[in-house]
């Protein structure tokens, strides 16, 4: 046991003396959380929409006034008026406007005759987020336009009442579970991957191998040393990340204790994965070459940034075996739903099994000689 503790002590002392490593492991994921959280979380606003009124009748004026109301209040878009179609279409193609609302010449006549008047939206569909926001806003605008001045005496339209079980979840909070897992993974990549191989290449492991330390003690020591650093990173992300993301009651002791259980299990699973990948590697360039891709392959299929239900079947296979998936799901339950450990029992069991299988495989592959 003392030998295992000696390996952990050595690693933690080095970690403590490397401010750059601490910053990369702990501060950078927080920066990522803030940047990504606010980059994706906001509502689309101030899109430029051209309005070409070829009708100029009273109903057309009503549409234009409603568009101005949107520009003044919701600010989803700003109106730019055009007198000729060619200029408007050219500006659309040049990216000066995101869409063109075309009110055709016969609009007022058809409206008054009750013969299905139509307004055209010509949109720049290269940006799906912007075009969806624009369509949504203009659909709402036309729904309001179509409301009768006087409501029918007997209403017969079915409506949907939405009841939200949890308080509103901004995107930055939705992203927090994934960010915590990613930070633990980055720590595992640096501590369990890059530093492990660099130490091996510099001959530091040779120093271990000439001592009477057993193979089992070496493996446990290497893994626990990496896990200890990953837990520290997880601890910082769980506390500071919750405060930054605006989680209600961020320092709740019970929830914090539950999250620490999950942090430990996640760190163990990701460090053991890293150890398995690196156990036979001796070239320091290898971990650097594979980590960028590995990061993408594990993080994005986990549901951390986009719902799993939208993935194609082949990607769901990755999702099913990816330890990120279970860790992210667990943190979502604990952070966003304040669930108990029972709710994440399946996640904890999977992470424990994953750790066991990875460590067993790595032990078989590990050589106690050069």
């Amino acid at each position: 046991m003392n030998r295992i503790l000696a390996i952990i002590e050595r690693d933690l002392r080095r970690f403590r003396r490397s401010p750059t490593l601490i910053i990369v492991s702990m501060v950078m994921p927080l920066v990522q959380l803030v940047v990504l959280g606010y980059a994706f979380g906001g509502k689309v606003q101030h899109l430029k929409v051209g309005i070409l009124d070829q009708d100029r009748g009273l109903p057309a004026i009503k549409v234009r006034e409603m568009a101005q109301a949107v520009a003044a209040n919701a600010r989803t878009f700003e109106s730019i008026y055009y007198n000729d179609q060619a200029t408007a279409l050219r500006d659309l193609r040049d990216g000066k406007i995101s869409g063109l609302l075309n009110i055709p010449p016969e609009f007022s006549r058809k409206e008054l005759a009750g013969t299905n008047p139509k307004i055209a939206l010509v949109e720049d569909n290269t940006d799906q987020f912007a075009s969806s926001a624009l369509e949504g806003s203009l659909t709402q605008l036309l729904a309001a336009y179509n409301q009768p001045a006087l409501p029918a005496r007997l209403g017969s339209n079915a409506t949907l009442s939405v009841v939200e079980v949890y308080p509103y979840v901004p995107y930055i909070q939705f992203l927090l579970p994934g960010t915590i897992v990613l930070a633990i993974f980055v720590s595992a990549m640096i501590g369990g991957g890059i530093i492990f191989i660099d130490d091996k290449a510099r001959g530091l492991h040779e120093g271990y191998l000439v001592t009477p330390i057993r193979k089992f003690e070496l493996i446990v020591g290497f893994n626990l040393a990496g896990t200890a650093k990953a837990i520290l990173t997880g601890l910082v992300l769980v506390t500071l990340g919750s405060i930054i993301a605006g989680i209600p009651d961020p320092l709740n002791v019970v929830r914090f204790a539950r999250m620490m259980v999950l942090v430990v299990m996640t760190a163990l699973a990701l460090i053991s994965l890293m150890f398995l990948l690196m156990v036979r590697v001796s070239d320091p360039l290898v971990p650097r070459a594979i980590f960028g891709v590995l990061n993408t392959v594990l993080f994005f299929p986990s549901g951390a940034v986009y719902p799993i239900q939208a993935f194609p079947p082949w990607m769901r296979v990755i999702t099913a075996v990816d330890p990120f998936t279970y860790a992210v799901h667990g943190f979502k339950q604990l952070i966003l739903k304040n669930s108990s450990l029972t709710a994440i029992g399946g996640d904890l069991v999977y992470l424990a099994l994953f750790t066991l299988i990875s460590i067993s495989a790595a032990t078989l592959l590990f050589r106690r000689t050069l």
């Binding site: 030998r3 000696a6 009477p212 330390i213 000689t369």
Partner: protein, 331 residues
């Protein structure tokens, strides 16, 4: 019982035979040198003896323990200083020592006492709490020597301990090793490619080349084993036919070898042979381009047994050296 017993030990890397069926013993309390160029198989041999690498054939016993079947007992009784400097730069000297003492399972009180004594022995007492990254190469090597002795081993393996050090640090390291050997009754097995070091400090020397043992004896006996007491090295403006025979016919000449364009003449009487050589050169109408006369050195011994100079091999081998010593498995 010998401190080290090597029997028919060999190591192959694919088709390449790095260590070619070596047999030798190291006696208790001696400094045993393995002399040879880079790539000769010295480091591979040391790695096998220190359990870092399994042998392909043969066996060896360290303090009576088999290096394959009793590897952990071997590790307990040896101290090892690998070729690469492996102390942790971010830790202090004391922390480096402490971590290794813990890896050997030494208790707190014993640890404190041993580390203090060792740091004093290698003159690093006042630097104990400084990070190793502040140390010079010589200081780091001294720290590693102390670290290798933290569990008080009987046998000390050092793989090129002075490579990369300046001449002053080299002398300091060797003096330290000689002192430690005297005080602690250590058996030391050391690899080097510095002839002068091996000559002054080793009780016995094994000359290794291409994985084979070419000679093994004390430096004195090795030098006496080759013909002649002096070596004349002479270069000529041109070499006429039969010149080799002319040189051999000079008085007191024991052996003549041409190493590239230079003739190495072993003589039992240097001054007489030199005078006769100058007359022979004049008579043949040649010009001497270089001439040196010296006593027999280990370098001459190396040339005699291997057929080439150690420095030539080093120059050739330099192109294959790697920053990552871990990978230079053929060393």
């Amino acid at each position: 019982m010998f401190a080290v017993e090597v029997e028919n030990l060999a190591k192959r890397f694919g088709d390449f035979l790095a260590v070619d069926h070596l047999n030798f013993n190291v006696q208790n309390g001696e400094i045993f040198g393995l002399l040879g160029p880079n790539g000769a198989g010295k480091s591979t041999l040391i790695r096998m003896l220190t359990t870092l690498m399994p042998p392909s054939e043969g066996t060896a016993r360290i303090d009576g323990f088999d290096i394959v079947t009793q590897a952990n007992q071997v590790r307990q009784c040896i101290g090892v200083i690998p070729q690469a400097m492996t102390s942790d730069l971010d830790l202090t000297a004391m922390e480096n020592m402490n971590i290794f003492a813990k890896l050997y399972g030494i208790g707190r009180e014993k640890r404190k006492e041993t580390i203090a004594a060792l740091l004093k022995a290698v003159d690093l007492e006042q630097w104990a709490d400084k990070p190793v990254k502040m140390f010079s190469g010589g200081m780091r090597r001294r720290l590693e020597i102390a670290r290798g002795l933290v569990h008080e081993p009987n046998l000390f393996f050092l793989d090129e301990p002075t490579t990369g050090l300046d001449p002053v640090s080299r002398v300091a390291v060797w003096e330290m090793l000689a002192k430690l050997k005297r005080e602690r009754e250590l058996t030391i097995l050391v690899t080097t490619h510095y002839m002068d070091e091996a000559d002054k400090l080793c009780d016995r020397i094994a000359i290794i080349d291409h994985g084979k043992m070419m000679a093994l004896d004390s430096p004195l006996k090795l030098k006496a084993s080759i013909p002649g007491k002096n070596i004349l090295e002479a270069g000529f403006s041109s070499v006429p036919p039969g010149w080799d025979a002319t040189l051999k016919a000079l008085p007191d000449v024991a052996e003549v070898k041409a190493v590239e364009s230079v003739f190495r003449i072993s003589s039992n009487n240097g001054p007489r042979t030199t005078t006769a050589l100058l007359e022979a050169v004049r008579a043949a109408g040649l010009t001497l381009t270089s001439l040196s006369v010296q006593s027999t050195t280990l370098d001459d011994v190396f040339v005699h047994y291997t057929g080439h100079q150690l420095r030539d091999t080093l120059q050739t081998a330099a192109g294959y050296s790697s920053a990552f010593m871990y990978e230079s498995k053929n060393g």
